[in-house]
Amino acid sequence: MPSDRFPSVTAPPDRPRRLHPASTFRDVPMRQVAGGLAPLVVVAGSFGWTATVALLILAVGALAVVRILAWKRHTYRLTDDAIVERKGVLSRRERVVEFARIQQVEVNRTVVDRFLGTAELRIETAGDASESELALRVVTEDEAEWLRGELRSRRGAAQPSPEAGAAPAPAGGTLVEVPLHHVLIAAVTGTRLLIVPAVLVGLFGILDDLQLLETDPSDVGSFATTVGIIGAMVLVFVLAIVGIAGAAVTGVLRDGGFRVVARDGDLHVRRGLLSTREAVVPRARLQRVTVKRNWVRRVLGYGTVTLHSAGGRGQRQSAGEQRSLTIPLLPEASIDAIVGELLQRDPLPPLLPHPERARWRAMFRWLRRVALPTAGVAWLAAAMSPALGVTVLATGLLAPIPLGVLEYRNLGNGENDVLVVARHGALNTATVFAPRRKVQGVTVSASWFQRRRDLATLDVHVAGPGGGIEVLDVAAGRAHDLGAILIAPWVRTAERR
């Protein structure tokens, strides 16, 4: 339902405020610079230095004028129930973000920011991917703090949200504090790095094979080849070590000092050693909490927890600036308590197993996933030696059995009066929790194979990028019942609390 509410004009509006003057020279778009310099390069050749220098001054001057104008025209002001941003030199743009719609507020500070005492403030609403959020770059640190406080208090004044009001005022304090050695472990056990041990194992395997080769010292060519191969492998080994070290350093710099603090119904998530990021998510805006355990971390007894708000994606989103907030590493024993604390529901719903017949489906899913790659690799291997091809094919066709058994064992779903949860995954598992009051809709789907075994998949949709819980291969009756529970009586659930 589109809302027609706009900031009331009658209320005494706060005066429009400009950003920090540093906005003029911080983050100058490289496109503008390149556009200005490209003609100069052409001109420099044909005219003398004097002309070039004159043009350079002119170009820098023009850029400065544009930037200063942009800074002068970029203002924001607070009204009773919204923040209004105006910007643009030639085409003017006005954005109104109602306090009540704010999903997430972030204060980001790079190293330079910390030196200058400035920060960037970003405000996320539940817009879709095409809508960029409101970003105030650069403001002073004090202003960012003040603004965040204002956004919080005015949101409360503008509209005591019924959802926030339903929950008792939560106790404040630090919920999570990740020690540095955990951040380090997290950095070197990331899913992307899991390929490294596999590569190393493979390398040692080849080394073993090479030693079996009977190298004839008189055959210089073969000797040189062997040395070359060993050299290449040493290089790969060194690169792998460097890669791990690099991941460790970037991980520690990014996630060092990670902590989650609860304050006034908000979750403050702070992280970073050099560049810092501090995000505030109102607890009532938490859409989803995901617990991920990749196999290395499971062996070591750790997992990660990610908080998802419905904050829009923005166009600039890259892997590095995901809006979700991931607690890099938590000891297994503390995960349940922390998830319960974050979602304010302890104990968590128990995970019910899926019917036995889902095991066949799990194996079949894995078979479907590995069949084609296996066939390709086996075909290539068979070209080298038929025996190798058969081995590869057999491995590929048998692997789905243990993987399917694992996957089935990890399948689970459950609900209590507040939360719904599902878990899936074979080697790396993901457990997704969502508050029932955040469920936007459900879909029960059943393929032909599932219908034959009276199974179905229940998709529980919540807002936010990639949002949802997938309850895979559950008994068809349970899928329909759980779906009905999740959408129909949520009102009664709210009253019960």
């Binding site: 809302s3 959802e163 469920v439 936007q440 809709g441 879909t443 789907s445 807002a463 009905a484 959408i487």
Partner: protein, 165 residues
């Protein structure tokens, strides 16, 4: 979902729409047959093309009637429910107070057949629901019906629209 209200079917003209789209799937096969004939390729290639085209039309025809039989939707006090799917059966349910806005879309073919498609949006893109093949003159009344039910549900639950997420 537990209580199953009678499902409404789509307008029968949507069968024509889907069958025309099914006919289009015969195009690659026909092109193959034509090209084979024009370029003097071996006869079996033309036959293969015709067979593909024939299979496309048959499957498309069968698909359209199966989907029409499967498809059904209902708007109750609380829930919009849509049943769809031929090979993969789906059964979607959206609490009405979650509805954000509704689009009415009409493609060129749909305009010819006096049909419209309703897309019901919620805050979760995955929960968006599509009702294809609503008669044009009923489209706005179905939309208003859903919006009205949505407003009533929201009022009943005491939910401010801005807090739907």
């Amino acid at each position: 979902m537990s209580e199953r209200p009678a499902l409404r079917p789509l307008h029968p003209t949507v069968l024509t729409l889907w069958r025309i789209r099914g006919l289009l799937s015969a195009a690659p096969g026909l092109l193959l047959a034509l090209a084979a004939g024009a370029l003097g390729a071996p006869g079996w290639l033309a036959v293969l093309g015709l067979a593909l085209a024939g299979a496309g039309v048959t499957v498309g025809w069968w698909w359209a009637s199966r989907r029409y039989d499967r498809f059904g939707y209902s708007v109750t006090e609380e829930v919009l429910r849509v049943r769809d799917g031929v090979l993969v059966h789906t059964d979607a349910a959206v609490p009405l107070f979650r509805v954000q806005h509704i689009d009415i879309e009409r493609g060129p073919l749909e305009r010819q057949l006096d049909l419209a498609t309703l897309v019901v949006h919620t805050a979760a893109p995955a929960a968006d629901t599509t009702l294809p093949g609503i008669a044009s003159r009923e489209a706005s009344s179905v939309r208003d019906e859903i919006l009205e039910a949505s407003r009533e549900a929201a009022a009943r639950h005491g939910i401010e629209d801005v807090d739907a997420v």
